[in-house]
């Protein structure tokens, strides 16, 4: 039993470390702030959560495991809130995103008119 838990935890920690490092590489490689946010979200979700889940298996059934789960809950509930605030503030500051395609003028089902200034659906801008 002990051995199985150890093995699971090792696998989780190794996977988590891998996603952590590759997310950080993405933070360096990506061209603009919005795409970097996607890379950071890999760190926040899969990287951090798998790593902590690995620690949970090491801790076993104890209060320590519960505290680790609270850390996961913090990342799970409030990581996206922070990312959303960042993206919104960056858009508000008129930092132009690097776009392959802009569908913000797209007609959403239920809309009567698409918003002016946008492009019709399916037309690439570059």
């Amino acid at each position: 039993m002990e051995v199985i838990a150890d093995a699971i935890s090792w696998i989780l920690i190794a996977l988590g470390s891998f996603f952590l490092v590759s997310g950080a590489i993405g933070l360096i490689r990506m061209p603009d702030v919005y795409t970097r946010m996607h890379a950071a979200s890999v760190i926040d979700t899969l990287g951090a959560m798998l790593l902590i889940l690995g620690f949970v298996f090491q801790a076993g059934f104890s209060l320590l495991a519960l505290k680790l789960l609270f850390v996961i809950a913090l990342l799970f509930f409030f990581g996206p809130v922070a990312s959303h605030a960042m993206a919104q503030a960056a858009l508000h500051a008129e930092i132009e995103p690097l776009l392959a395609e802009d569908r913000r003028g797209r007609k959403v089902p239920g809309d009567d008119e698409p918003e002016p200034g946008g492009q019709p659906e399916g037309v690439p801008s570059t």
Binding site: F77, F78, P80, V81, H84, A85, Q88
Partner: protein, 139 residues
């Protein structure tokens, strides 16, 4: 930022837990890292988060500036009051031995009261500083 739905819902979810976490840190100072100072900072963080998301007027309703300013000297009074009380009982300053019959028990109570004083002062100072900051350039 108050109008934003996601921030609003997120803040509403997390605020009570921040306050309870601050109180936990306050009362478990003897078992792990913690104590009055850290608890005061976290509790002040709750007020600051509330005023960032919901506006400073809403924050002044739950933590009125007059109360916050009273908290700063009040904590010091609690702290020194404990010390003076122990002096009056015929012991040294901040020597808690007189508070209960048993030595350990007396220390527990004494430290609890002193830590509470620290919490009140630190929390009051942090929130007062925040209010002073956001007050710049307005009436």
């Amino acid at each position: 930022m108050r109008l934003d739905l996601i921030l609003r819902v997120g803040a509403k979810l997390v605020l009570p837990f921040i306050l309870l976490f601050a109180l936990y840190v306050q009362f478990h100072g003897d078992y792990g890292p913690g104590g009055g100072f850290q608890a005061g900072v976290i509790a002040a963080g709750m007020v600051i988060l509330y005023s960032i998301i919901f506006g400073v007027h809403a924050a002044k309703r739950i933590a009125p500036p007059i109360m916050v300013e009273m908290m700063v000297p009040m904590g010091v009074v609690i702290f020194t009051g404990t010390g003076v009380a122990s002096l009056l009982m015929g012991n040294n300053f901040l020597d808690y031995t007189g508070f209960a019959h048993e030595y350990l028990h007396a220390h527990e109570w004494g430290i609890l009261i002193v830590e509470f004083g620290v919490l009140v002062t630190v929390c009051g100072t942090m929130v007062a500083m925040f209010y002073a900051f956001v007050q710049r350039g307005r009436s």
